[in-house]
Symmetry: C2
Subunit: 242 residues, 2 copies
Amino acid sequence: MPHVEGSMTANQTPAARRLSVTTEDYLKAIYELQVAEGVAQTSAVAKALELAPPSVTGMVKRLAESGLLQHTPYKGAQLTTAGRRMALRLVRRHRILEVYLTAKLGYDWDSVHAEAERLEHAVSDELIERMALALGNPRYDPHGAPIPSKEGVVEEPVLIPLSEIPVGSMAELRQVSDRDAERLRYLARMGLRLGTVFEVVARQPFRGPATVRVSATGARDQVVGHELAESLGCMPRGKEVG
Amino acid sequence: MPHVEGSMTANQTPAARRLSVTTEDYLKAIYELQVAEGVAQTSAVAKALELAPPSVTGMVKRLAESGLLQHTPYKGAQLTTAGRRMALRLVRRHRILEVYLTAKLGYDWDSVHAEAERLEHAVSDELIERMALALGNPRYDPHGAPIPSKEGVVEEPVLIPLSEIPVGSMAELRQVSDRDAERLRYLARMGLRLGTVFEVVARQPFRGPATVRVSATGARDQVVGHELAESLGCMPRGKEVG
DNA sequence: TGCTGATTTTAGGAATGACAAATTATAGAA
DNA sequence: TTCTATAATTTGTCATTCCTAAAATCAGCA
């Protein structure tokens, strides 16, 4: 059952004045941490943006004054409606750009992230909508992440990490993190792509690796480390007659 | 006879460290002023970038210290080889982006400039080369401006402003300024596009307007103000038998 | 309850890049 | 040559946003 993240149709800020690139980076990082972890702690934001923690504290206080988020000292930051709207706009831009670069300009799924990361701050809403139209309004980016609508609504599908799929059952790879290009190249070499259906045939204890059997390509068994497995979002599948 | 602007094959700076967006804006503005006026005066740069003159003096001094240009106080700025190389890289990006947005995403020639102006600072060299390839390595942008090569070589064709084409002779519109979108829309409405061949049938004295007759579209006479005519780069044409 | 280690915040400072006000240089006219 | 209008520069601030070092706070455990 997919649940709905953020849904703002009320346009609070009439003249949404241009935000700095830095501000946009903070909002997006905080949004993504809220989705992944529930809260956005100072140290987590610092790590995501590769900054020192005091820089984050300072910036978060300024963003709170601008009304883009709420800050509870020592607890973390929470986006306001205005802040979430801006963050979702950034996420939409990023993901549409990734699809466009992949589909129209021959980028691989491991190299689009960095390019989109810079472009998302520079493109106009108009350009993004033209790209979306040219692509037939895609719903997922090349890593399986859902694309928020223009209105700022996104369905976050409920997926289960490969690390938690029971041994003996089947699942389909639906989403991977786009952060680490090296990891994406490794997955591609192993034959693990979006939509790949596999069976978990074994798992070692103590956060050990899982062994998966890819159905399609003639039963090749692959060993997937625990940490990698945690970053692979899967949809459980009943065994099918193939 | 076209003449060659800038030709640097020697890669002086080994690790061309990333320049700030601001620095890139200054270099491009100074380059364009040097092409148009020969020199780049402080006030002209300030006007082009919509900044106050003291800001320009300060930045120009810093750019001189970085070795990107030479500054003769009270005289103006001149790009060094390193500065010109960076500027030409920006110009190439800008113009390839304009062609791409026009050809692949349905932009009009009056709206591409602003979009390219922001994107040129965010795209990677790789993306630009992919776009250039997808476009068949175009040589001119949608306003007729020549596109510098990857190596930083550009042929600036010698064109004559419409304001200086003699009455009674024919010419072809080859290049227009991309700065003012309103002006571009006006030209399009008048039927003046790149490649349009026309005859100058009259010109009023004292910087008055010229009257042009567009050959193709059944002898429609158009009156073009002096200032607008100065911004239209034309190639003289012998009268042809049509 | 009170220590202890990790996290967070405060304090102070540096770099970039913009501005206004005041000063100085240049070049053309008298 | 001297004056004067224009252009350019110097000086002093301010806003952003980063950093390091030091102090404060929180949470888990004895």
